[in-house]
């Protein structure tokens, strides 16, 4: 059962995210350099952090899948990557808007932060086609888990490599050398980050509940039709044995 505590989680997400955006709009001061435009930070950066953490979470679930062989871990990993890709798309679009407003270009190819995020996004974009290309369900789950672990290990490495890069146009939110964020900005930012993390958790749970319900309906249909041994049709999504 994935639907338990879903309502409480949804309400907490709504309150935190609305509160975070309200703090960003009315409490956090305007940036001395970028002015009002800097408010994009409160949606763009939390989305990016949560998307990357989601990929790492997917890798952890994939490790569990390989360790235990239980399909529910494969499904958890699959849904985490699915959600992170949606968040990643939002990061790329909001980032492009910010780049256009700040630097006058929609995209800057010699900026390591932007390009590395795009590489991570494109890498994970191949996850679903990879799954769909493998017909055998066991192989599909195992290969997908290996992919999720390898790509998941690449995420923190990539993050560190970018931080160590010498020249960049992209600002650092948690920079310590040049002061970083102003305290009121930090409060608004952390509330937005928490809200975004809760949103990710809520949507992940929604998706898991939906997949679980769909699997149960299919199982019930097979039982009523009397063909319990029938194989499910080819899909990129993992099948649930029992949850």
């Amino acid at each position: 059962m994935y639907g338990t505590r879903l309502r409480a989680l949804s309400i907490a997400t709504l309150i935190t995210l609305t509160g975070g955006f309200a703090l960003a709009a009315f409490y956090a001061p305007e940036d001395a350099d970028q002015g009002f435009m800097q408010k994009i930070l409160y949606v763009h950066v939390p989305l990016a952090i949560v998307a990357l953490c989601g990929f790492v979470f997917a890798a952890v679930c994939a490790i569990q899948h390989l360790r235990t062989g239980e399909s529910r871990w494969d499904l958890r990993s699959y849904v985490a990557i699915h959600m992170s890709l949606i968040f990643g798309a939002a990061v790329l679009i909001t980032g492009s808007i910010w780049a256009r407003a700040s630097w006058g270009h929609w995209w800057v190819w010699d900026e390591p932060t932007l390009v590395s995020f795009l590489i991570v996004f494109l890498l994970y974009a191949t996850y679903q086609p990879l799954r769909f290309s493998i017909e055998d369900r066991d192989k599909q789950g195992r290969y997908a888990s290996v992919f999720a672990i390898t790509a998941g290990a690449f995420v923190p490495l990539n993050f560190l490599a970018v931080r160590m890069a010498q020249s960049y146009t992209h600002p650092r939110v948690f920079a310590t050398a040049n002061g970083g964020l102003e305290p009121r900005m930090k409060v608004a930012f952390y509330v937005c980050l928490l809200g975004m993390a809760l949103l990710y958790a809520t949507l992940w749970k929604y998706e898991m509940t939906s997949k679980n319900t769909s699997a149960q309906i299919k199982r019930l249909r097979r039982r009523l039709a009397g063909d319990e041994g029938a194989l499910p049709r080819r899909s990129a999504s993992p099948t649930l044995e029992s949850t």
Binding site: F36, I40, V43, I93, L224, A225
Partner: protein, 64 residues
Amino acid sequence: MIVGADVTLPDNAGYVVAAYLVFLVLLLIYVVIMATKLSRFERELTELNEIAEKRDEERTRSAA
């Protein structure tokens, strides 16, 4: 007396609004997808319920 406050937004406010709108639109698309799935589940469950009812009817008839 109400003192006139400067309520005009800066020139680049459109970009900020656009960024938050992207987030909202993606969220709404997700809600629409979930709503479609929910209505499919409802349809499928109604169908399964009808099959189960027919089965029960047949069983009572054959028992009688």
